[in-house]
């Protein structure tokens, strides 16, 4: 366990070194948020309510997207694993007494902690400037559910990225293609740009058959109190199912991938 803590600490130090890169990454997220915010403002110029959301509601939603983004969709593992496989650097880790994937998950966690620490600052500034109307539910059940949903979201995202990264085992030349593809899907269908409940009925159902909405939309919907009772339990359950599904998929792909990787004698 101690070794994972050391990894955690070293990883934090690492992130400091690349402070500029970190600032850039945060800027990108903030820019996204601002863009989406301003865009929606345009729509509300001539309309009181859009899809049942008032301007305040939409602002709150977009704001929460920024918050959730900070700890769900941030993961150095997503960027690095594919490359390490492609370059053969993976071999360095396979000989060490540290589980490669656990190692990256730990690094991700340290990165998320760092992000949260910095994000608190920037989010407070933005909150003061724009005053979103966040009504936090007093319901303890809701808070707990949100917590659970967020944790599952983080895990699902991690599993999605390592699945995408595993394509590097078979196609080391083109790790970016798979990543880009997944990134586009996530951007659109996780609910980062617009709340998913404005989509027509059948689309809503189709989306629940993908792992994406559980990353952003559902955690937000839960904390906004939009999902309660039986539906809440159902959604949490579906989240869990997806976590397990992705877990097994990732496990399978990695098993096969590692086999083919060692077969090439790297």
């Amino acid at each position: 366990m101690l070794k994972y803590f050391t990894i955690f600490s070293l990883s934090l130090q690492n992130e400091f070194t690349y402070r500029l890169n970190f600032i850039l990454w945060r800027s990108r997220n903030i820019l996204r948020f601002l863009m989406t915010f301003f865009l929606w403002q345009g729509v509300f110029y001539s309309n009181r309510s859009v899809f049942g959301y008032s301007q305040q509601d939409m602002l709150t939603y977009v704001f929460l997207v920024l918050v959730i983004n900070t700890f769900v969709l941030s993961a150095p593992s997503a960027e690095n694993i594919g490359g390490e496989i492609a370059r053969g650097d993976l071999s360095n880790y396979l000989v060490k007494p540290v589980n490669y994937l656990k190692y990256w998950f730990t690094r991700d966690l340290s990165s998320k902690v760092l992000n949260l620490a910095f994000a608190v600052f920037e989010i407070s500034v933005l909150a003061l400037m724009l005053r979103p109307d966040i009504k936090l539910p007093e319901d303890l059940v809701n808070l707990l559910a949100f917590f659970l949903a967020s944790v599952l979201a983080m895990v699902i995202y991690f599993l999605i990225s390592i699945t995408a990264a595993s394509f590097a085992f078979w196609r080391p030349e083109d790790i970016w293609g798979a990543r880009f593809f997944i990134a586009i899907l996530i951007e659109t269908f996780a609910g980062g740009i617009f709340p998913l409940d404005i989509l027509p009925g059948f689309l809503k159902i189709v989306l629940q058959l993908t792992p994406f909405p559980y990353l952003i939309y559902f955690p937000i919907a839960i904390i906004l109190g939009k999902i309660t009772g039986i539906t809440l339990i159902r959604i949490l359950f579906q989240s869990l199912v997806w976590t397990l599904l992705m877990f097994f998929l990732a496990k399978l792909l990695w098993k096969k991938g590692l086999k083919s990787y060692s077969a090439e004698g790297k």
């Binding site: 070194t17 690349y18 500029l20 890169n21 970190f22 850039l24 990454w25 800027s27 990108r28 820019l31 996204r32 863009m35 301003f38 865009l39 403002q41 345009g42 729509v43 110029y45 001539s46 309309n47 859009v50 960027e79 196609r171 030349e173 083109d174 293609g177 880009f180 593809f181 586009i184 899907l185 951007e187 659109t188 740009i193 617009f194 404005i198």
Partner: protein, 262 residues
């Protein structure tokens, strides 16, 4: 100069062959561009489902701009993106040294070294959207407006080049600059829609202070006659400024590189 043209052709050639070595790439582009396009269309539809017009732009005008954005963005990918992206790599691995000993302008060589000619397919998807929007709008556009558009976009491409190249040059000053792709996305994302949609102040800042507006929005406004004709000259001015600055900053940074490293 003939020499530079020949080197350019040789680089196009070698890049293309290099690209074909990875067959998966071609398939990857086709799927990615098509999906990106579909998603854009969904998004714009959602956005305009309550208002006919937002900040002076109608739905099909936005579609047209999105198609244009696709074309320009893809063109940038074809010519410059990968090359500029690799600059931090060259600096870190020391490959920059090898380029500096070659009898050719280093900025030119690096800029055109990694072209992706097959990315032109994405330009096609953009053109499809443009054509579709024009059909739906059923308007007559004069040759003059077409030329304003083309010239404006060329200037815009150069502005994007200048800004991105200069930012990438920062890797000479900063150690590991892996954030370079993030920078590109930061620059590029706002361009996908008319900057006017961001409101008056923001769009002013993004047009005249950081000349992003002149990359896509203003040329398209010129096309629809929404902006006065002399805006084209502003665009050209900013383009020259951007390219000049990138060159100046590159040489300035090389001075630092050649005196501070070992």
């Amino acid at each position: 100069m003939k020499h530079y043209f020949k080197v350019f052709l040789a680089l196009l050639n070698i890049s293309a062959k290099n690209y074909l070595e990875k067959r998966w790439n071609v398939f990857g582009i086709i799927t990615n561009s098509t999906i990106s396009l579909i998603i854009m269309v969904i998004f714009v539809n959602v956005y305009f489902s309550f208002s006919k017009e937002i900040f002076g732009w109608t739905k099909y005008q936005v579609f047209l701009l999105t198609g244009i954005y696709r074309c320009v963005s893809s063109l940038f990918y074809v010519l410059f993106f990968r090359s500029i992206n690799w600059i931090p790599n060259y600096v870190q691995r020391g490959t920059l040294d090898i380029f500096l000993t070659k009898p050719i302008n280093s900025q030119f060589y690096i800029t055109f070294r990694l072209t992706r000619i097959f990315e032109l397919f994405s330009v096609l998807t953009g053109l499809v959207l443009v054509y579709y929007s024009l059909q739906k709008m059923d308007i007559m556009v004069s040759i003059i407006n077409w030329s304003f558009l083309i010239l404006g976009l060329l200037a815009g491409l150069l502005i994007l080049y200048g800004i991105y190249f200069s930012l990438s040059t920062l890797s000479i000053w900063i150690g590991r600059f892996s954030g370079i792709t993030d920078v590109f996305y930061i620059l590029r994302e706002p361009l996908a829609i008319p900057l006017d949609l961001f409101g008056k102040t923001t769009s002013f800042v993004l047009t005249f202070i950081i000349p992003l507006g002149f990359i896509i929005t203003v040329p398209v406004r010129l096309f629809f006659g929404m902006s006065p004709w002399y805006f084209l000259f502003f665009g050209v001015f900013f383009a020259s400024l951007a390219v000049w600055f990138s060159s100046w900053f590159w040489n300035f940074s090389l001075k630092h590189y050649t005196s501070a490293s070992s």
